[in-house]
C-alpha cells in the first residue's frame, strides 16, 4: 500500500519516475508531475468473452479477516437483539406507555422495510444484463486497477466504507459490477426509499445489496436507532463493504454537493467506540463523458419535478440503449485509515464514561471532526474526477453563445487545456490525435446539444423530438446541459478564479484587501463549491500559487500584481465565475423587492424564476446560470447563513424574512460597489 501514490499523500516534490513516465505516454510533456494510476478498460475483456460464462464464473471474493459469515436474516436478528435497539425500545415504551412487544414489532417492520437480501443469484443476473447494456451504450469503462488492488488489501484488513461520487443512478450498479468483476465482495448500498416504488426493480436492487433509508427520519428515534444499528452491525462484522453517497443525492449540476454527515457519523462510530480497530474510508470518483440523465437533470433544474421512479418509466427509458454515452472512468482512491486521520484529533473521554449502547449526542469536537473527514473525502473525490475535452469545449462555448467559429473554438480549447493541466485537473486528452479531431469527436458525442455546421458550432435551438415541457425554452435546456459540463471544471478552478475575481473587484493591489475579498467570496459561495471548513488562508495561498506558477500574477510581500501576459487568464477566470457572482447579486436584488413578510421556499423559487425570465427576455441580464434551481437553493442557504435572510419555523413550515439592510449591503459588495473591507467586517 505504501508504494502506491496519490495526490493526497505525496507532496509535489516527491520524485515519481514511474508516474512521470506514464504521464508522458498519455499526455505528452507536462509542466507538473501527476500521480494518478493508469486506467484499464474493463469492457475490453467483456467484448471478447461470453457474458454468460462471466456471470456464472466462480466468485470467491477476498473477505475481511475478522468476518463471521452470516446470512442477511441473521443480521436482522442481531440488530433487533442488540443492546442499542433494546435500549431505545424500553425508552420509548416508558415514554409512550406502549408495551415493548408492540415497539419491538414496529422495529421489526422498519427493519424489513430497509434490509437488503443480498443474493449471489441477483448479482449474477446484474452481471449478465449490465454487461450487455454497458457494451452497447458505453465505449469504455475504465478502472484504475492499482486502486482495485489497494482496495483488495484494505478489505482484508479492516471494515471498508466505499464513498463514490454521485452523478447518475448508474453509479451504484457500476460499482457493484466492477467489484464483482474483480472478485471483490459486492457492497451493501444505502439507497433512497424512492426505488421501492418500482415494482420488481426495487426487490431486485434489494437482492443485489441495496438497503433503503427514508430521506427524512424526523425525530423518529426508533427508526434512527434501528437504521444506524443495522449499518453498524454490517460494518462491525465485516459482512460486506458499506457503500453510500456523501453527497446524499445525485448532483444535478455536476458540481460536488456539500456532504451530508449523518451516515458518515454512523459508519465512524464503531471506530470511535473502539468496536473495530480501524475503518477504511475509500473515496471513489466516477466520471461520465455523458450521464444518462443529462436532459433529465436540466429539466429538473428548470423546475420540472423529478419523475417518480417507476418500472414503466425504466422501460420507457429503453431508448437510451440506442445512444452512445462515451466512456466512464471509475477511480478508486487511496483507502484512508480512519485511525490515522483521527490520530490526535479526538479526545476519548465521552465514549469511555457512558455505556456504549446508550446513544450520545456527538460533542462539538466530534461533529467538527466528522465534517473535517467528509470534506477531506469530497476533495479527494474531486481530485480524481476525470475531465474530458468536452468539459473544456463547453466552457469555452458558454462564453461565446450562441455560436462560434470552429477554429476559434479549437484554439481557445487548446489554450484552456494547458491551463487546466497547470491547475492540476485530471484531464484525459488523447495526445496522439490532432486537437481539432479530438474536439470534433466530442462535438459529435454531444450532438444533442450543439450542431456543427459549416465551420461553425451552434447551440441547438429546436428540439428534434417534440414534447418539450410546457413553458420551457428549449435553448435553456441545452444551456443548462452545457453548464453542467462546464461545472465539472469549476471544482479545480475555484481557488485561482476567486483570486482573479478578487483582483478585479478590489481597487488597488494590496494583498490584504485582495485576501479580504477572496475570503468574502469563499464565504458566500461555500454552499456552491467545496472548501475545507475554516481554512481560507490556505485556499488563498493555493489559488495564488497556481496563478504564480503560470506567471499570471506576481506576489510581493505587500501586493499582488497581474503580469502583462496574465490579463487574459485573469479575465477568463473572472468570466468563468461571473455568472455566480452575478446570479447571487440578482437574487439579492429580487429579494429587496420581495414584499411578502415570511415567504416560503416554494414562493421564493417561483418568484425568482419568474423574475429571472423577465430579465432574460428583456435582455437586461444574460445570466442563464440563474435558470438553475440549484443556484436558487444554494443562494437561499447562503443568505440564511450570512444573516441576510432569517429562517423561522411556523407550523411545521419554514418561512423566510429578508433583512433589508444586510441584503442591500451584500448586493453592493457583490456588485463591487462598496469595498469588502476586512475579513471580520465582511461578515454581514
Amino acid at each position: 500500500m505504501e508504494k502506491t501514490v496519490n495526490l493526497a499523500t505525496v507532496s509535489p516534490s516527491t520524485p515519481l519516475p514511474r508516474a512521470l513516465k506514464r504521464q508522458k505516454e498519455r499526455h505528452g510533456p507536462q509542466k507538473e508531475l501527476k500521480k494518478w494510476d493508469e486506467f484499464e478498460d474493463m469492457l475490453e475483456e467483456r467484448r471478447h468473452f461470453s457474458d454468460l460464462k462471466y456471470a456464472m464464473k466462480c466468485y470467491t471474493p477476498t473477505v475481511y479477516k475478522g468476518l463471521c459469515p452470516c446470512k442477511p436474516d441473521k443480521i436482522k436478528r442481531c440488530v433487533l437483539k442488540s443492546e442499542e435497539v433494546q435500549y431505545i425500545i424500553k425508552q420509548i415504551s416508558k415514554e409512550t406507555h406502549e408495551s415493548t412487544d408492540i415497539i419491538q414489532e414496529e422495529a421489526s417492520v422498519i427493519l424489513d422495510e430497509m434490509a437488503h437480501k443480498l443474493r449471489l443469484g441477483a448479482i449474477r443476473f446484474f452481471a449478465f444484463s449490465l454487461s450487455k447494456v454497458f457494451k452497447r451504450i458505453y465505449k469504455k469503462v475504465c478502472v484504475n486497477e492499482e486502486g482495485i488492488q489497494r482496495l483488495q488489501r484494505a478489505i482484508q484488513e479492516h471494515p471498508v466504507v466505499l464513498l463514490p461520487s454521485h452523478r447518475s443512478y448508474i453509479d451504484f450498479l457500476m460499482l457493484s459490477y466492477v467489484l464483482y468483476t474483480y472478485d471483490l465482495p459486492v457492497p451493501v448500498i444505502a439507497a433512497g426509499m424512492d426505488f421501492l416504488g418500482m415494482k420488481l426493480v426495487g426487490e431486485l436492487l434489494r437482492m443485489s445489496g441495496a438497503f433503503f433509508m427514508r430521506r427524512t427520519f424526523g425525530g423518529n428515534k426508533l427508526y434512527w436507532t434501528v437504521f444506524s444499528e443495522y449499518v453498524k452491525t454490517m460494518l462491525r462484522n465485516g459482512y460486506a463493504p458499506v457503500e453510500f453517497f456523501l453527497e446524499g443525492t445525485r448532483s444535478r449540476s455536476a458540481k460536488t454537493l456539500t456532504p451530508k454527515l449523518g451516515l458518515l457519523n454512523i459508519v465512524m462510530e464503531p471506530f470511535f467506540k473502539r468496536e473495530v480497530f480501524d475503518t477504511y474510508l475509500v473515496p471513489i470518483s466516477i466520471s461520465y463523458d455523458r450521464p444518462l440523465e443529462e436532459t433529465l437533470y436540466a429539466h429538473e433544474l428548470l423546475g420540472v419535478p423529478k419523475p417518480k421512479e417507476s418500472t414503466t418509466g425504466l422501460l420507457k427509458a429503453r431508448k437510451v440503449l440506442n445512444e452512445n454515452y462515451g466512456s466512464i472512468h471509475v477511480y478508486f482512491g487511496e483507502p484512508l485509515s480512519l485511525r490515522s486521520i483521527a490520530n490526535g484529533k479526538m479526545s476519548r473521554g465521552p465514549y469511555n464514561l457512558v455505556p456504549r449502547h446508550i446513544p450520545q449526542k456527538p460533542s462539538e469536537d466530534m461533529h467538527a471532526f466528522v465534517s473535517h473527514v467528509a470534506y477531506k473525502l469530497e476533495l479527494l473525490q474531486i481530485q480524481n474526477m476525470v475531465l474530458n475535452p468536452w468539459n473544456l469545449v463547453a466552457t469555452v462555448f458558454l462564453q461565446n453563445l450562441p455560436r462560434m467559429d470552429f477554429d476559434i473554438l479549437v484554439k481557445k480549447t487548446v489554450w484552456l487545456k494547458d491551463l487546466t493541466q497547470t491547475f492540476g485537473g485530471f484531464l484525459i486528452w488523447p495526445d496522439n490525435i490532432a486537437a481539432d479531431e479530438v474536439i470534433h469527436s466530442s462535438l459529435l458525442l454531444h450532438s444533442n446539444i450543439v450542431n456543427f455546421n459549416k465551420d461553425q458550432v451552434i447551440l441547438k435551438e429546436e428540439s428534434e423530438e417534440p414534447g418539450t415541457a410546457e413553458g420551457l425554452v428549449f435553448q435553456h435546456i441545452t444551456i443548462l446541459m452545457c453548464v453542467a459540463y462546464r461545472n465539472q471544471l469549476l471544482n479545480i478552478f475555484v481557488r485561482p478564479s476567486f483570486v482573479a475575481i478578487s483582483l478585479q473587484m478590489t481597487p488597488g493591489f494590496r494583498k490584504e484587501d485582495i485576501y479580504s475579498c477572496f475570503d468574502f467570496l469563499r464565504d458566500v459561495f461555500s454552499d456552491e463549491f467545496i472548501f475545507f471548513p475554516g481554512n481560507a488562508l490556505k485556499d488563498f495561498e493555493e489559488g495564488c500559487y497556481l496563478l504564480t506558477k503560470n506567471e499570471t500574477i506576481q506576489v510581493t510581500p505587500q501586493d499582488i500584481l497581474v503580469t502583462d501576459k496574465g490579463d487574459t487568464v485573469v479575465s477568463f477566470l473572472a468570466l468563468l465565475f461571473k455568472p455566480f457572482v452575478e446570479g447571487y447579486r440578482i437574487i439579492c436584488q429580487y429579494l429587496q423587492k420581495e414584499e411578502n413578510e415570511g415567504f416560503t421556499e416554494k414562493q421564493y423559487l417561483t418568484g425568482i424564476r419568474n423574475y429571472n425570465y423577465c430579465l432574460l427576455q428583456s435582455g437586461e441580464s444574460e445570466c442563464y446560470e440563474l435558470l438553475s434551481s440549484d443556484m436558487h437553493k444554494n443562494a437561499l442557504a447562503a443568505l440564511v447563513r450570512l444573516g441576510a435572510v432569517s429562517k423561522n419555523k411556523v407550523n411545521d413550515e419554514y418561512t423566510y424574512k429578508v433583512n433589508d439592510e444586510a441584503i442591500i449591503k451584500l448586493e453592493e459588495m457583490l456588485g463591487a460597489k462598496i469595498p469588502i473591507g476586512k475579513p471580520v467586517t465582511a461578515r454581514l
Binding site: 473502539r274 468496536e275 480497530f277 455505556p355 456504549r356
Partner: protein
Amino acid sequence: MAEAAASAAADGAGCGSGSSLERERERVCAGRRLRVLSGHLQGRAPAAALVLNECRGRAPAAAPAAPPPAAPESSSIPKKRQELMKWNGWGYNDSKFIINKKGQIEFTGKRYPLSGMVLPTFREWLQNVLGLNLDQRTTSKASLNASDVPPSVVKEDFLDDLKETSISYSQEADDRVFRAHGHCLHEIYLLREGIFQRIPDIVLWPKCHDDVVKIVDLACKYNLCIIPFGGGTSVSSGLSCPVDEKRTIVSLDTSQMNRILWVDEHNLTAHVEAGITGQELERQLKESGYCTGHEPDSQEFSTVGGWVSTRASGMKKNIYGNIEDLVVHIKMVTPKGVIEKSCQVPRMSTGPDIHHFILGSEGTLGVVTEATIKIRPVPEYQKYGSVAFPNFERGVACLREIAKQRCAPASIRLMDNMQFQFGLALKPQVSSIFTSFLDGLKKFYITKFKGFDPNQLSVATLLFEGDREKVLQHEKQVYDIAAKFGGLAAGEDNGQRGYLLTYVIAYLRDLGLEHYVLGESFETSAPWDRVIDLCRNVKERIAKECKEKGVQFSPLSTCRVTQTYDAGACIYFYFAFNYRGISDPLTVFEETEAAAREEILANGGSLSHHHGGSQVESILQILKDHINVSYFFIVPMAVYKFYLAVI
C-alpha cells in the same frame, strides 16, 4: 515516586514536635487524619501525631554485629541478595532456562515443579512464533564491573551518626546496583548492556520499626533522599533513582524486617513486619495452620510493605480479597512522624480512610514498617480444573456470567489462543507413553469430535479451594455455566500446569534477552462490555506499531483475562518481539508499549490494575488542588477550625 519521598524528607526539620506526647489517641477522628494527610500533601508541618513504639524485635543491647534472631531464616532474603538471586535477571541464581547439550531447552534447579525438566517443543515454537534463533546469542556483561558504577557520595557526619544507631549498611557497588532497579524491561536491559547513571549511595538494613524511625530522622537532619526497597520486583520504575538527584540517596532495604510479630487467632489477624516476603509469610503461617491467601505472581520475593505501597492483587483474590481488603492496620513512618490507626478494627467511619492514601502511594509518603493482615485457616481441599472454549469471545462471555452469579472459584483465568499454544509449547517431556497417548485422545476429542478450531480455541484454568464438599458443588456449578457457553471440561492437569507455570514464566525473559528478544508484560482492568474489543485492539495495535517500526518478525502479543469482578475484569498482556536488525530496540520497545497503553486508555481500560504506576504524584497533586480550605467551612466543628488555624 522517589522524588516525592525525597521532597517530603527535605523539609522535615523540626518535625514530630511535642504534640506527640499529648497522645490524643482517643480523638483519632477524621479531623486529625485529614490534618496529618494535608500536612503531607502540603509539605507543611501540622501538629504531627508521632507515636513512639518500642522496637520489640531488637535485643536491648544489640551490637552491630549481633547474630540474627533465632527464628529460622532458611528461605528469607539475605542482605547480600546477589548470593541468592541474579544480579541481572529474574529470580534465583540456580533457576534458569538453558539450552542443553541436545539443543533442547531445559529449566535448571530444584525449586519448581518444572525444574530439571526438558521442554522438547519449546524451541520450535519460539522459532516459529518469534523467529528466535537459539544459535544467535547477544553479548552482555557477565558480571558487574565495580569501576563503572557511580561512586557513593555520603557525608561523613551522617555516617558517624548512622554508626551510632548500629543499623547495618553497605556502600559496596554490587549492593547498591542491586537496589537501583526493579524489573522493568529497560532496567534489566540496561543492566546487561550498560549501567545506570544514578544509583543509591548507600544501602541500609533496618531491623525493626524503630530503626526506620531513626533512619527517617537522620534523613531529615542531613537532607537525604530515601527509597524504600522491599522485594525489588517493581515493574513501574518505582525504584529507579532520579538522574538529577543531588542529595545522597539511601536505599532502605526492609529484608531484615521479616518477622511475624503476633498472630491473633480470635480475630484471625497477624501482625507482621513490612519486609517479610509472601512466600515466607505463608510458610510460617502454615506451621500454625493459617494462610493469608494473598498470592501475587511475585510472591516469592515481594513483601508485605511492597504490596501495601502498590495496591497489589493476588491470584486468589476472589476468596481472600486484594491487599486493600486484607490489611486491617498499617504503620508508616513519615518525615513528620508515624501514621497509624488507634485500633485494629474491621472498618471505621470517621472520615476518609487513611489507609486509602497509603495503599498505592508507592513510598512517596513514607516507609511502611508494619501491618496487620487478615489470616484464614489453610483450606481443607484444593482442586484444579480447566475448560476449553471454542473461542475467546465465548470464554469471556462465560467469565462474565460467572462473575454475575458471583460464583468465581478462587482463581479463574482465561487464556487467548496464542497463550494457550504458548502453554502447550512449555509442556515438559512426558515420562510415560500412556500420558502422551491420553493427551492425544483429549486433543482429538476437542478438535475433531467437538469441532473446535485449534487456532481459535481458548482455555480457562480454574482453582477451587475450601471444604471438599463445597468445592465439588462449586465445581459443578461453574462447569454447568461453562457448558452453556460451549465450554468443555479439559482436565485437572491442564489447569494445574497453567498455575505451575505462573512462577516460571518470569524467567523466560532472560532467555529471550540472550537471543535478541525483548519481552514484557502489562495489565489493565476494563468494564466487561469492553474486554473483547480491548484485547483485540491492543494486540492489533502492538502488531501494527512493530510493523511500522521495522520489526521483521511479527511480535508475540497475547493476553488473558486473569481476574473477574462484578463490574469488569483484569486483563494481562504479554508482548515480545525479535529485535534482530533493529539498531535501537529499547526505543522501539518503549514506543510500542506506550502505544499499547494509549490504546488501552482509548478502549476504556485503566493504566494498571495491580502493577502500580507513575500516577501517584499526579493524584496527590489533584488532591492538593481540589481539597480546598473553603470546603471545610461546611462542617463547623472545632477540630476543623483548629485545622484551619494551622493552615
